[in-house]
């Protein structure tokens, strides 16, 4: 398919500009290696002092709400668990990984704030519904729009044209539709391709690739639906509204999947909780992102 080829080529073009942190890659390898132990993971973490400091900060923050204090990497790895450490390492390094992809269209702090809102809300919803792994959807939420950064960096003229179309439309044209009109593909597809080339878990690929097309999810329909809802709630948190009319519509199939309706009480609870958490989480997950590389 021609579109697909274009997407693959586009993502190949950023190879070398976006690199996952060394510590994440190492942790990832160790966890997949049946012969490795928790101690090996802890050792890999310890070799990156700045990551170690940030990991301990997150471990002791309200993010996990752990009662005992975590003062060593060994303890962090055993209490949090290697699976969650892997998600965490990816989440903590993703913002700085994209420093090599600056753009003039959106300020990085604004971009990551939306992503982080989506992550936090996906996590809250996962806990409420009990159907998805909260840590996995947190990471998926944080990464859901990364294709946007590739498009903004590689195809700035077309990306701007898409943004202008959204502003020109009274009919609430969503950005992914505008991208399809201008480019023939959208940021969800680009993000999924990036994650595929990085060999990240299929759950992430599906959530990123289908957060605007939940009907096409194959193996992780619940996670995809959750990130879809979280993305819209994130828009509400961002512009500080509780009125669903103010943002893009939520695909009703997403609610059905969790046996819920678009209940206004749920919206209020979740949006308010996310708004309370965001300030601290920005420090934990985004602060190290080099904002200077953003437009200005």
């Amino acid at each position: 398919m021609a579109d697909n080829e274009n997407i693959v080529k586009l993502v190949r073009g950023v190879e070398g500009l976006v690199t996952l942190s060394h510590v994440f890659v190492r942790i990832n390898q160790l966890i997949d290696d049946p012969d490795s132990s928790m101690a090996d993971v802890a050792k890999a973490v310890s070799q990156d002092p700045s990551f170690t400091v940030r990991l301990l900060r997150v471990a002791n923050s309200s993010f996990y709400g752990l009662s005992s204090s975590i003062d060593t990497v060994d303890k962090a790895v055993s209490v949090i668990g290697t699976g969650r450490i892997r998600s965490l390492a990816l989440s903590m390094s993703v913002a700085s990984s994209f420093a090599g992809l600056p753009n003039d269209l959106v300020a990085m702090d604004n971009f990551w704030r939306h992503s982080l809102y989506c992550a936090v809300i996906a996590r809250i919803l996962a806990r409420k519904t009990g159907k998805c792994d909260p840590e996995a959807v947190f990471t998926a939420g944080l990464l859901h729009d990364i294709g946007e950064l590739v498009i903004f960096n590689r195809l700035p003229e077309q990306a701007k044209e898409a943004l202008l179309r959204v502003l020109d439309s009274v009919d609430d044209l969503p950005i992914f539709e505008a991208e399809r009109q201008v480019l023939g593909f959208d940021h969800a597809q680009v993000g999924a391709e990036l994650v595929r080339q990085w060999n990240l878990p299929p759950l992430l690929m599906e959530c990123i690739g289908h957060h605007h097309s939940i009907g096409e999810a194959l193996d992780y329909p619940h996670e995809v639906a959750l990130v879809h809802i979280a993305n819209i709630f994130a828009q509400m948190a961002e512009i500080d509204t509780l009125d669903p009319e103010d943002v893009s519509a939520i695909d009703l199939r997403a609610w059905v999947m969790f046996g819920m309706g678009a209940d206004l009480d749920i919206i209020e609870d979740v949006v308010r909780e996310a708004q309370e958490e965001i300030v601290e989480l920005e420090k934990l997950f985004i602060d190290n992102a080099p904002e200077k590389s953003a437009a200005n």
Binding site: N110, L163, D171, D240
Partner: protein
């Protein structure tokens, strides 16, 4: 060969009927209008520095960063419209302050007067006018609050003219999309995501440098 006589039938079935746009008042032919499915109506798209008045049931819409839009209508006859402007910002710096401040104000006066005069010229009555005010957001944290300057100007102007503001959504940190229907006075204001900040700022900056490079004085048409 395909029978040619079938084509007209096919076309009429495929394309939903969109009515013709209502007649445009003289002077507004350049404003782009398009059909909007949501409102089943035409709507005129204003760019910074433009304004639009209509006597028909159609919409006017725009996106605002730190710019401001006054929506004004005669609530009896329904004639009305919208402007979109900001004050030239060169004022605050130095000894020229008083001069450039009055120049800036003069620019704002033009923007308001044009809108009101065209409404009155098309049958609006001053005592029937109702005003709604939108915009003036502070969408870049590191900028001086030029949005507030625009809000203050518009409020002062309207107070001086004795025109009542019946609704407003101004200030704060969000860009906005405003859709206004002068015939009914109905308005929809939507906050826009920060994803759109830079594009809006760029558009407004281009407009600002255009108005600042033009001499202000006499009867120069600033729109």
């Amino acid at each position: 060969m395909r029978p040619k006589n079938l084509r007209p039938i096919n076309t009429s079935m495929a394309i939903p009927t969109i009515p013709r746009p209502p007649l445009v008042l003289p002077g507004f032919e350049h404003v782009r209008r398009n059909w909007n499915q949501t409102y089943e109506s035409y709507a005129a798209r204003l760019l910074p520095g433009e304004y639009y008045v209509t006597i028909h049931d159609e919409g006017v819409y725009t996106t605002l960063g730190s710019c401001i839009s006054a929506c004004i209508r005669d609530r009896v006859s329904g004639v009305g419209g919208m402007n979109h402007f900001m004050l030239p910002a060169s004022a605050d710096a130095d000894g020229w302050k008083s001069t450039s401040l009055s120049a800036a104000t003069r620019y704002g006066n033009f923007a308001m007067e044009h809108l009101i005069n065209v409404i009155l010229k098309n049958g609006g009555q001053r005592q029937n006018l109702e005003v709604k005010l939108f915009g003036g957001g502070r969408i870049l944290a590191n900028m001086t609050d030029i949005g507030m300057r625009n809000i203050t100007f518009a409020r002062d102007y309207l107070a001086t003219e004795g025109l009542r503001v019946t609704a407003e959504d101004v200030g704060d940190i969000y860009p906005r999309m405003v859709v206004y229907f002068p015939a009914t006075g109905k308005v929809r204001v939507k906050r826009l995501r920060s994803l759109h900040n830079n594009v809006i700022v760029e558009e407004e900056t281009r407009y600002l440098s255009a108005i600042e490079s033009k001499p202000v004085g006499g009867d120069i048409e600033l729109f």
